[in-house]
Every structure is written in structure tokens, then in C-alpha cells.
């Protein structure tokens, strides 16, 4: 995902008129971190809100409500995002 985000970042820069191809790195930790953060939230939305919505009852029965699950995912994603940024 990090490498893909690097490619995406490169083509976005090219598309916006930056023609100094060699100055644009193939891998960018900033783009990778951003991509990871967004994808983790998007994946949670599609998997738990749409595909396996009933799975929430597993967590509800353990005393975890939807807000706690979303906040914990947000915190975990932010921590990993920060870790990727330090690469």
C-alpha cells in the first residue's frame, strides 16, 4: 500500500504540472501514512457497517458500543500513521 501510494503521489504531482520527475520520490512516507489512515477507516466502514453489520452484536455483547469501536480504530490508525511518518 505504501509503494502504491508513492506511485499515486507521483502521478498526482505530474498531473498537477510538476515535470521534474526525478525530484519526485517513488516512495513517500507522508503519502503512505495518509493512505493508510484513510484506508483503515474506509475498510472499517465497508466491512462493519455494510458487509458484516450483524457482527457488531458480538462486540455489543462484550460491552463495547459502536462509538468505542470507532474511536479505538481512529486512535490505533493515528498511532500507526505517526509510526509510518517517522520512516
Amino acid at each position: 500500500m505504501a509503494l502504491l501510494s508513492g506511485f499515486a503521489y507521483k502521478y498526482v504531482l505530474i498531473a498537477t504540472g510538476n515535470t521534474d520527475f526525478d525530484a519526485i520520490p517513488l516512495f513517500s512516507s507522508g503519502a503512505a501514512a495518509g493512505a493508510y489512515f484513510i484506508f483503515s477507516l474506509v475498510f472499517q466502514f465497508f466491512i462493519y457497517e455494510i458487509k458484516n453489520a450483524n457482527e457488531y452484536y458480538f462486540y455489543y455483547n462484550l460491552g463495547l458500543n459502536k462509538n468505542i469501536l470507532w474511536i479505538s480504530n481512529l486512535i490505533f490508525s493515528l498511532m500507526l500513521t505517526m509510526l509510518i511518518l517517522t520512516l
Partner: protein
Amino acid sequence: MKKMHVDSVLKSYDNRQILSDVFISCEKGEIIGLLGRNGIGKSTLLKIIFGSIKADNKFVRVDSKYIKGIFDNRNLIKYLPQNNFLPNHVKIKTIIKLFCDKKNTSIIINNHLIKPLLDKKSNQLSGGEKRILEIFLIVLSNAKYILIDEPFNGVAPVHKKEIKNLIIKQSENKGFIITDHDYRNVLDIATRTVIIHDGGTKEIKNNEELIEYGYIRELN
């Protein structure tokens, strides 16, 4: 006061009032059979009591604790939904340990229906196997009150008796509210029966009242 007390429940969908005059209570040792026609609000009522959906208004108290949502009812109320809810990629024996204490874990893992499933994951089980496992998990969990929505759905007749015996045995220490369209199975084990009619709950004193409320046409 050692009981679960539910009243003042108001719930409407699209300007249609589903629940309006609900009073239901459950004590340890009781199995409340909750009956009603399709779409009358049985599952909605159970979800409101559990806290997984919001009501326009509700009052739920367990013993002396006021229950506002799911976070408040940990170890007090557990709910078995109509559809399978176990995560697909977790081993069954891990799930059992999450739900039950040591004593009940030992009961489940030594049960002849569950034992062959222990090393499998949920997505490797049939619908009926999942249902049986879910019933065991919820009924043998450490909660004081158990809400069960259509437990016999998809379960082979030969296993229904075993499930009924399990619920009766566990009701010595817990209170149950159970709903199922197979009403004979509910009446078999219920110590009290309540029907939802016109948005409200009415206690059933004899089976003829089920005909009066339009739930069944004749007694078999």
C-alpha cells in the same frame, strides 16, 4: 429490588407508532415468553432493552442500576440477535473464553454438540451449528438477564429439546426473555407469557387469549 424492569418505551418508524404501552419485568428464575405477529415490534423491543437501538423514550432498570446504553449493561444483559453474529476469522474456543467464565467454558467445551467445533472458525460452520453455538454462548454467559430472539430458527428438532433444557436449567440463576415464531417451544418453557398487541404488552393468562389477540386461529 432484584429484577429487570422495563417501561415507558416509545418507538416509531416513519410516523408509525410501533411501541407505545410497554411494561415488562423479569426476575431471576423467570422465563418470559414474548409473542406477537410479524412486524409487531418484538425484536425492536429486545434491541431497545439491550440498548443497541435507540427508542424515542425508554426506562430500563436492572436491579438498582438505570441502563442507558450498551456500556451500562455489561455483565447484566446479553442479547442473542436473530441473525448470526460471530466474527468469521476467530477460533470457536477463543470466542467461548471471551464470553464465559471458567465453569461455563468447561460446560460448553465438553458439550457433545460443541466439542467437534472447537478448533474451527465461525466461517467453517453451518448456519445451524453457528446458531447452536451462539445460543450456548449467550445462555451460559455471565449476564444476569438474557434476551433471546428466535433461538430455534435453523435448529434441528432433535437439538431443540436440549436447548430448552439448557435454558430451563440456567434460569435457576438468570432471568430470560425469549421470543420465537415457533410459539409452542416458547410456551413449553415460559413461566409467564406476554404478547405485544397494538404497541403494548399484555400478559397472557391462558392460551385462549392468544386467539383473542389474533396471534393464532385455533389451539392445537
